[in-house]
Each structure stands twice: as C-alpha cells, then as structure tokens.
C-alpha cells in the first residue's frame, strides 16, 4: 500500500488522470460500440455527401445512398469500426503518460493525432467502397474495394497513425538527449 502511495505521488495526479482518460476513452468506445458506430456512420454519410459522390444518409450504423438509381449502402459493423484499432495506441500513450521525464503533452498529443488518423483512415476506406460501387457497379465495386483496397487504405492509416505518434513521442525536449554516464562521474 505504501509503495502504491509513493508511486502515485511520484507520478503525479495529472498524469494518472490523463493515462486513465486515454485508456478509458478507448475502453468506453469498445463497450458502447453502438454509439461509436452510429457516429462513424453519420460521419461517413457526411463525408460521402461532402465529396459529392451521393446523397447519403445514416440510419443507426448503416449508410444508405443511391448508386445507378438503386438503393445501396454500407454498414459500420463492429469489425469495421476504427475503435478496434485503438487499444495499442491507448496502451502505449497511457503508459508513457505515466513517465515523468516525458512532457505530458507528448503522449496526449500522440494519442489524439493517432486516433484521429485512424478515424480518418476508416472514413477514407468507406469512401473508397462508395467510389468503387459508383465506378464499377454495386456488386463488382463492393467486391473490389471492401477487402483488398479497403484493407490497403486501413494499412496506410495504421502506418501513418503509428508513424505520427512515434514522431511526436521521440522528437523534442527530453526525448532524444540521453545523459551519458561520463558526464556524471570522472572517467577512470
């Protein structure tokens, strides 16, 4: 108990709260997935509308629109949600938020940028599916895009999100200037 108290004091309440918030946000997203998927579907509908591809609307976790005069659509299932890709980001950023030598802003910024990037990449993936259906017809377009091209977009999104997060974490003050043993003790 004493060790936990000492550890808590050492880390500081702000860092503990920040770490818990980041982990908690992702955990809540996993548990309350209906709300998250509905939000992603609405965002997807807005993106499709904004891109001028179709007059899309969202209904719970589905996005519907017309392609070649036929009613078509896609659903944001649990497996299609960006939130499932977020736990590693949350784990790493929450852990580093507890490390005092790293300015707290860094893991928090890395978390925000990485999760935003994942959401955007997921939106781009869904947009690619709509684009595929518009250009190649509903069946062929969906077949071409929802696994191969969709996954390629997701890979790019995960890579970009990881790269940006790492860059935020490893550059700047305190991140890349280790203190050498030689500066602390006389050389023998």
């Amino acid at each position: 108990m004493t060790a936990v108290v000492a550890w808590t004091r050492g880390v500081g309440p702000a860092r503990i709260v920040a770490a818990a918030l980041m982990a908690g946000i992702v955990l809540a997203g996993l548990v309350f997935d209906d709300a998250v998927r509905h939000s992603e579907a609405c965002l997807s509908a807005a993106t499709v509308r904004a891109s001028g591809l179709a007059d899309a609307v969202c209904l719970t976790d589905a996005v519907t629109y017309h392609v070649d005069g036929r009613l078509a659509g896609h659903a944001v299932t649990y497996g299609c949600s960006a939130v499932l890709l977020m736990p590693p980001v949350a784990a790493v950023c929450s852990f580093l938020a507890l490390v005092r030598r790293i300015p707290l802003i860094r893991p928090v910024a890395a978390f925000l940028v990485a999760t935003t990037m994942l959401v955007l990449a997921n939106q781009a993936r869904m947009l690619a599916i709509v684009l595929g259906m518009r250009n190649f017809g509903v069946e062929t377009g969906y077949a071409l895009t929802h696994v191969l091209i969709g996954t390629a977009v997701s890979v790019f999104g995960v890579l970009a999100s990881g790269y940006l997060a790492i860059q935020i974490l490893i550059t700047g003050r305190g991140a890349d200037a280790p203190r050498s043993a030689l500066s602390m003790r006389p050389a023998r």
Partner: protein
C-alpha cells in the same frame, strides 16, 4: 452487443494489427540494415583484453577454442570458467593452463556452481578484478565473452577498438555479429586453401543450421542496426565485449555485472544502458559458433530466450524512466519485450482467422466461388504481403547481403523454410510463458552437436594430460 460478431471482429482486428505491426517493424529494421557502412579499424593495443570462456562439460570443443583464441588474439588473457563439469573438461583446462601462460582457470564447485551462465561470468569478473593491478585504467580493460565452441574473426579486436566503438569513451559495451555454422573454423580461417575449399561453402550445410545463421545475420542484425539509431543495442551471449569500468558501475548498482535472468546477456545490455553508457553493435567482425542440428534442442534454447525475455519485462518501468535512454529506445525495448506476447497472440489469432475464412467460404449459400469473387479473394494478397513476405524476404537478403556463397535456388529454399522456422519458433514463446507461470527458472545447458564426439586434439593429448 452481438457476442459472435464481437469475437470475430476481435480476431480479425488483432490479426490485422499484428500483421501491420510486424511488417512495419521489418521495414523499420531494413532501412538502417541496407544502408550500413563499415566502421574504421582501431588499434587493439590501446586496450587490455580479457576473454571469458564459460565451460560446462565442454570437452569436445574447449581445447580447439583456446588454441584458436591464442592464435588470433595473443594479447588476450583467457579466463576459462569450469562450472563443475563432470566430463574431462577440468583435466583439459588444467593442461591448457600449463601449456599457455595467458590461460587461467576459474573453478566453481557446488553449491555455487551450475547456477547459470550469469553467475559463472560473475565469478570470472571477480577474478579478473582481483588480477588487475590497483593502478589499472579499468576503462581501458575490455572483457569479452566467447562460448566454448566460438571462433573470433581474426581482426575482431582491431575492429571493435575503432573510434565508433571502444575508441569512444561513452561506449560501454559492444556486441559483434554472430555467425552460426556447422564448422566455425571454416568461417574464421585466414589461409586461402580453407577459404576457398568446400568447408567454406555454406550451400551444402544443414538447412536448420543455415536458418539459424540467416536469423543472426539477417533479422537479428537488422534489429541491432535499428537499435544503434534508437540507442538501445542489446547484448548477446556470445561475442559480447564490455568495458571493465562499465561492469564495475553495474556491479555497484546491481550487486554483480550479470544478474539472474535466463537472458543474462540481454539483461546486461539493459544494465549498460541504465548505467548511462552507450552500447554498440558491430557487423564488420563476427564470432562463429556451431549451430544446433536438432529442432528439439533449438526449441529448448528459444524457450529459454523467451522466458528470459519475459523475466526482463520487470525492467520496462525503469527503462522508461531512465534519463539515459531515449524515448525511441524505450519504444524499441518495449517492442522487443512484448515479442513473446505478440507471438503467443499471433499463434492463436492467425490460425483462427484462417479457420473463420474457410468456415465463411464453406457456409456461403451462394457457393464458395461466389463468396471468394465478391471480395474475399482480396484476403489472399494481403496474407501474402503480411504473413509470408516479411519472413521469406530474408532468404533473398541472406544471399545478396549476408553470405554470398549460396545459390539462388538455395536462397529461395531458405525463404520458404524461414516461414516454417518462424512459425515453429512461436511454440517457444508458449513454453517460456508456461515455465514462467509455473515458477520454473532452472535450466540445463543446451547440448552441442559436438558433444557426442571428442576432438582430435583431446584424443592426441589424452596420454600426456
């Protein structure tokens, strides 16, 4: 929440994340590996050299190893640690001390003996420490570790004395490249007859041995190149060199230089970094060691590595908070320490993903072909890109970048075999985890392929010993 969909989504997403994580790590390690440059030679006479050779029942190999070290490294003082061998090793060591004045034996007897490699190395460190005159500049004393079947490349001491390595006072430890072969002598000889003869050609070597060599000069070396950039170079068991002053600093903090983890070499590397020294990797020289010829022995060895890796997780918090280790180093070390977990998770989710894929294909009311054509076929190039390519590529790099003396056909064979090899080694992570959970930390030495034969030299000298 629909439980079935939730489980399926979790399996697919985990498999996807592991694939991307692994592939991006491979890309990250390949960049510095392919862009490497040779280091400048230094002068071995700038340093005082001590080589520790741990010996536990090494009668088959130790005499040839000592002969070799005396020949290529006459400046070095050799410390042969007899860890209570019960074969003819003690007799051979006694004979070697009579034959070579620079050879010393460190005797360990029960109950202190056979506690693992770390305690054996600590015993040698104590004796070296006592052997050095009080006015010795311990920053110029280098302590190396070579396995009893090891062979050092002839220019090794000069290479690691260079300005980028021990020539730089901030460098506390250097790990050199490890080569694995059936005949270590063939890799380290300098006479042209043997260099061009059949033993030097690796194309006919045992496939398992060549896969181990490919692993050491390929992915493991590439990881070390990335670590050079992140400031987190790891030490290996064979071919590790550490400054005496660095060992002293570690001992002052942790009690002894080598501690109790089953991966005592990696632990030493962490201690070097935590003590504020830089560790370096050198690919321009090497130590050659005999490869394991039996899959069972290999699995045992890798189980020990995996368990040792898991034991070292306890350092993660310390590493993260150390002012001496860059954040990029923290991330790299964290990734490495997590490898057993990613292997264990991967060994579950990858087969499950494949099963789900096949189950969906078979159950589709429109037929399997229809199911594949409506998009599922797209999984195959992805599986190839993420599940096959990152493993198989090393076969081709091995030929072009590491060991040119193999044919293109052999390189392709190695590429395919490396897939099976990589997935086979995932079993070691499971075994390591089970041993850790059961609280088992005992370990028997991995048997060498040469253990069943006595060296010619030992047979020749049997009468005079």
């Amino acid at each position: 929440m629909d439980t079935e969909n939730w489980v399926l989504a979790l399996i697919n997403s985990t498999a996807f994340l592991l694939c991307v994580l692994f592939t991006s790590y491979i890309i990250a390690v390949l960049r510095p590996f392919l862009a490497r440059r040779e280091v400048a030679l230094g002068d071995r006479e700038q340093f005082q050299w001590h080589i520790i050779v741990p010996c536990l029942n090494e009668q088959a190999v130790v005499a040839d190893c000592v002969d070799h070290l005396i020949e290529v490294f006459p400046e070095a003082t050799l410390w042969l640690v007899d860890d209570a061998s019960d074969d003819r090793t003690p007799t051979l060591l006694a004979w070697l001390t009579r034959r070579y004045p620079s050879v010393h034996v460190v005797e360990r007897r029960p109950p202190d003996a056979r506690q693992g490699k770390g305690p054996a190395l600590n015993a040698a460190w104590r004796q070296i420490s006592a052997y050095l005159p009080p006015d010795t500049d311990r920053g110029r004393v280098i302590v190396g570790v070579v396995d009893a079947d090891g062979r050092l490349e002839a220019f090794c001491p000069d290479v690691i004395s260079g300005d980028d390595l021990f020539g730089d006072p901030a460098v506390g430890a250097v790990q050199i490249q490890v080569r694995v072969t059936a005949d270590p002598d063939a890799l380290t000889v300098t006479d042209i007859g043997r260099l061009t003869g059949d033993p030097a050609r690796s194309r006919d070597q045992d496939l398992l041995i060549q896969l181990q060599d490919m692993e050491f000069v390929g992915p493991i070396a590439a990881m070390q190149f990335l670590r050079r950039r992140t400031g987190s170079v790891a030490m290996g068991g064979n071919g590790q060199f550490t400054r005496m002053s660095t060992l002293d600093t570690i001992a002052a903090t942790y009690g002894t230089p080598w501690s109790g983890a089953l991966l005592e070499d990696f632990e030493l590397g962490l201690h070097v970094l935590l003590s504020g020294y830089r560790s370096e990797y050198c690919h321009d020289t090497f130590v050659a060691q005999a490869g394991l010829t039996q899959p069972r022995a290999l699995l045992r060895q890798r189980t020990r590595w995996a368990q040792g890796n898991l034991q070292c997780l306890k350092y993660l918090w310390q590493v993260a908070n150390s002012p001496h280790i860059r954040v990029s180093g923290v991330l790299e070390i964290g990734y490495y320490l997590a490898i057993p977990f990613t292997q264990i998770t991967g060994s579950v989710v990858f087969p499950l993903s494949a099963l789900v894929y096949v189950a969906y294909m078979m159950a589709d009311p429109a037929g399997s072909d229809r199911w594949l054509l409506t998009g599922a076929l797209g999984v195959l190039p992805l599986a190839l890109a993420f599940g096959v390519l990152p493993h198989a590529a090393w076969g081709l790099f091995y030929r072009s970048r590491c060991a040119g003396m193999i044919t293109r056909r052999r390189a392709w064979l190695l590429a395919v075999a490396n897939l099976a090899y990589s997935y086979f080694l995932q079993a070691a992570a499971w075994r390591g985890l089970f041993r850790l959970l059961r609280g088992r930390s005992d370990w028997a030495k991995t048997a060498r392929a040469a253990d069943d034969r006595l060296p010619a030299r030992a047979r020749r000298e049997q009468v005079s010993v």
